[in-house]
Every structure is written in structure tokens, then in C-alpha cells.
């Protein structure tokens, strides 16, 4: 166990996780909108947003895949100490954390079953930047149209074609999170 692994968790988990979940809920319910999310100090290279999402959503019942850039002793220890999430291979993952390059090709992740589409993975993608520009988003949660600086469009178009199956995605950068559920129609601009 690396010493830093014990630090940086929630200090008031019930309230901090509640606030973090509301940001995560708004983000997933309103694709393309950016939300501040805070309350934890995960070890580098994790962003605050990615670390807080992990603390809020993961536990011993949620197998987690760590992409290559995150798969370091201090991250593994931090995640294990604070959440107990089993660290697993791609195919078993309920959550996956990494850069887009880490997680590609994303069609390896669980998309749920035809009769249980909820049994699908949630990807947490660490981004170098996050802004309301780039690919055009339409669909549930979006009044007219939104834009989000996605790492690419083709993978999300292919994922949308699987609806109601498909993975769901959070994009994180610093202390901000955006959501991209499988229901969103993504078009290049």
C-alpha cells in the first residue's frame, strides 16, 4: 500500500457524495453540459472529477477497469482502499477509467443485454480539455442542440446505433464533468 493511497478521499462522504451524484445526474441527464464536481483529491494522474466519480459510484460490487495510463500502484491502491472495487479486465468492467487512447477500441466494453440493456459499462474518459464545441449532440436531455469536445465521433455514432444497448460515458477534465449517454445522437461538424 502506497502511503498516498490513504489520503484524498471524502471527509464527509454522505454529503459530498450526494453533491457529486447530483452533478453526475445532471451531466448524464443533459448531455453536453459541463458540471463542477469536487470533494476528493485523488493521486495523479487522476483528475479531481474522475476521482470523485469513482468514489461516488464505485464499490465492492462494481468491477473497474483501469486504462494503461491510470494503472499505476498509487492509483490501484487509492481505488482499492477508498472503494473496494475489484480491478478487472476490459470485458468484466462495469466502470472503466482512462484516457481515450487507453480505452480504445471502446467496442470491447459491455453494452448490456437485449432484455437488460442496463447491464452496460460506464466509461470515465480523462480529457486534456472539455468545452462546448465540436461534435453536434441531439436527443434526450437536449432541448435543441448541444456541442461537446468529444475525443472522436465515429465510436459514439456506432454506440448510438446499438440503442437501447450501448455503453455510457463521462468525460472528465480537472474539476469538471460532462455526460454522454448512449441515447445521444452525435454528428461531426
Amino acid at each position: 500500500m502506497t502511503p498516498d493511497a490513504l489520503l484524498g478521499g471524502f471527509t464527509d462522504a454522505p454529503r459530498q457524495s450526494a453533491r457529486a451524484f447530483r452533478a453526475a445526474l445532471e451531466a448524464m441527464a443533459r448531455p453536453g453540459t459541463l458540471w463542477p464536481i469536487e470533494g476528493a483529491a485523488p493521486p495523479a494522474p487522476l483528475s479531481v472529477a474522475a476521482g470523485v466519480l469513482i468514489l461516488t459510484l464505485c464499490d465492492g460490487t462494481t468491477p473497474l477497469y483501469l486504462g494503461a495510463s491510470c494503472d499505476q500502484p498509487v492509483v490501484r491502491d487509492w481505488v482499492t482502499f477508498h472503494t473496494g472495487a475489484p480491478l478487472v479486465a476490459v470485458h468484466e468492467a462495469q466502470f472503466a477509467l482512462g484516457t481515450w487512447a487507453d480505452l480504445m477500441p471502446v467496442d470491447r466494453f459491455a453494452i448490456g443485454l437485449p432484455d437488460y440493456p442496463d447491464r452496460a459499462a460506464t466509461l470515465i474518459v480523462e480529457m486534456p480539455a472539455l468545452a462546448n464545441q465540436g461534435p453536434r449532440l441531439t436527443g434526450p436531455g437536449i432541448a435543441t442542440v448541444a456541442h461537446l469536445s468529444l475525443p472522436e465521433t465515429a465510436a459514439f455514432c456506432a454506440n448510438r446505433a446499438l440503442f437501447p444497448q450501448g455503453f455510457d460515458t463521462y468525460l472528465t477534465c480537472g474539476g469538471q464533468v460532462a455526460g454522454l449517454p448512449r441515447s445521444t445522437i452525435v454528428e461531426a461538424v
Binding site: S17, A24, A29, T61, G139, I142, P164
Partner: protein
């Protein structure tokens, strides 16, 4: 943890809330699809909306202002109990004003006042499966949703028409969400159905006994099932509110004395009271919210 109280913030323990939160997020990602979840025992009977209470518990933040309504009213035993429960366990503020609430838990109504971004409407759902009365077996209804096999539902509605000359279903009127899942909107009057679609708020549905959570994200399409020759109509009593004069709100018929005299009043007590406070007075109304 700094919590010194006997129970956790908003009652449920963190592991349970995480499980419910994950189910809510999958529900949001698949609008209209019923996500199974492991419902917990709550310190109230099932008929009191334990599914809604668990969803509310998983969503509340300390800064929330909670409104709870039962058939449109803030002052029923059920609504008062749930409001007090969260005042005590979460220390949140409560309100009866729809516009001031950040989270609204409801049984059987959607408020008349349009909801806005940033608000969450949590429905208490007794029977989440719209196909249940056609097919009692869960394995079969799940297969029907998978295959979009909604023919039986249309047959049932059309039988209504041949029997009654119209679609007789007045509550629990099914909607199709984003052209994919048929969803039960809980026993709201069909008058409220048009507010399900295109709503600015997040709508979450919790069924405790049946252990299902489902959702409508903001601005999601939810279309009431109907037929070209029998289009859906959001009917209400052909009357204005006797207290506030509103011509367009959903009305309850109330017997006012032993002789069987009746009056029609808004089912949404906050809406009616606000209108009277603003000077809209119906034929039997007074300016005070007490009616």
C-alpha cells in the same frame, strides 16, 4: 465520517444510495426502460411510496428544498409524513411552492406550474410495468419490451374504443418514450400526460415493491398511445375551479355538505392557493388560501 446522527444523511446508507444512484443513471441513459434495483425496507408501508422515497433519498443534497404532494395536495398525511421524514433525516428545507422546490416527490399528479431546469420530479409508482395487466409474467413482459412487441397494448386500447366509444383509460395512460419503450407514467390523470414529454425537469420514477427505477431526462419525447381515428385527448372536468376560477387546471369534485352539494376545485393546492393570493377568485372562493 462526521455524521453523529443515528442514521445516515437522508436515511439510507451509502452503499444502498450508490446502488440506487447507479440504477438512476442507467435509467436516465435509457429513457423509459425499467432498471431493476434492490429495494430496501423503509420505515413506512409500501403503499406510502417507498420507491419514490428511496429515489429521493439517493438524490437529495443538503441544499435542496423539498416539496411533497399526494394527489396534488401538500397537506395529506402521506405528504406530510414524507416531508417530515426528510426534514429529520436530511435536514433539508421544505416548501409547498412548486417554483421554489428543487426536488418534488409526487403521488398521482404533475404540478400545474411548469417545471424548470434544475428541478427533479420523483414519482411514487405502484405498478411500473405497463404491460402487466396484459401479461402477468415478468419474463414475458421483458421479452415484449425487448422486441418492441406492443401490439397487445394497442389492442387493449382499441377494445376500450369499441366498448365505450372512446379510450376509457383515465389514469396510468401509457406513453411511448423516444419511439422505443412503452412506459407507465404512474397513476397520474391522463390530463397530465402532455407534461411528461419535453419537460425541462428531470423525471425519475421509483417502484419500491416492484423494485424498478426508470426515468425521463429533460426534453424527452413521451407520446401518449393513440390511434389516427381516436387521437389522445387530455381530458378534465368541463368546469372552472370554484375557488380560483382557473379554467385549465385539473379539478377534483368535492362534496361540500350533507345535501350532496358539489364544487370543483384544483387538485393542485399550491397552484389554487397562489392564484387566490394573486387575486383570482372563483364563484365559491375567498382570497385566503384556506378557501
Amino acid at each position: 465520517m462526521t455524521d453523529q446522527t443515528a442514521y445516515n444523511f437522508a436515511y439510507l446508507d451509502e452503499q444502498t444510495k450508490r446502488m440506487i444512484r447507479r440504477a438512476i443513471l442507467k435509467g436516465v441513459a435509457i429513457p423509459g426502460y425499467q432498471v431493476p434495483f434492490a429495494s430496501r425496507e423503509m420505515p413506512m408501508p409500501y403503499g406510502w411510496g417507498t420507491g419514490g422515497v428511496q429515489v429521493t433519498s439517493a438524490c437529495l443534497v443538503p441544499e435542496d428544498r423539498l416539496k411533497v404532494i399526494d394527489q396534488g395536495a401538500d397537506d395529506t398525511t402521506n405528504a406530510v409524513s414524507i416531508r417530515r421524514f426528510f426534514q429529520r433525516t436530511a435536514g433539508i428545507e421544505v416548501t409547498e411552492a412548486t417554483a421554489d422546490a428543487t426536488v418534488i416527490q409526487t403521488r398521482h399528479r404533475i404540478p400545474e406550474t411548469p417545471l424548470t431546469e434544475g428541478q427533479i420530479l420523483v414519482y411514487q409508482v405502484p405498478i411500473p410495468e405497463p404491460l402487466r395487466f396484459l401479461e402477468p409474467r415478468e419474463t414475458e413482459t421483458r421479452k415484449m419490451h425487448e422486441l418492441e412487441d406492443y401490439g397487445l397494448m394497442h389492442v387493449k386500447l382499441y377494445e376500450d374504443i369499441s366498448r365505450h366509444g372512446q379510450i376509457a383509460t383515465a389514469y396510468d395512460y401509457p406513453v411511448k418514450v423516444e419511439g422505443r419503450y412503452v412506459m407507465d407514467p404512474s397513476p397520474i390523470p391522463k390530463f397530465d400526460n402532455p407534461k411528461l414529454g419535453g419537460n425541462a425537469a428531470i423525471q425519475l420514477f421509483g417502484a419500491g415493491r416492484e423494485q424498478r427505477i426508470y426515468a425521463l431526462p429533460p426534453y424527452t419525447q413521451a407520446i401518449s398511445l393513440d390511434f389516427d381515428d381516436y387521437p389522445f385527448t387530455a381530458s378534465k372536468a368541463d368546469h372552472a375551479c370554484d375557488l380560483c376560477g382557473a379554467p385549465d387546471s385539473y379539478l377534483d369534485e368535492v362534496i361540500t355538505d350533507d345535501q350532496g352539494s358539489r364544487m370543483f376545485v384544483c387538485s393542485d393546492t399550491d397552484f389554487c392557493g397562489s392564484r387566490r393570493a394573486a387575486g383570482h377568485i372563483g364563484p365559491m372562493g375567498t382570497p385566503s388560501a384556506g378557501g
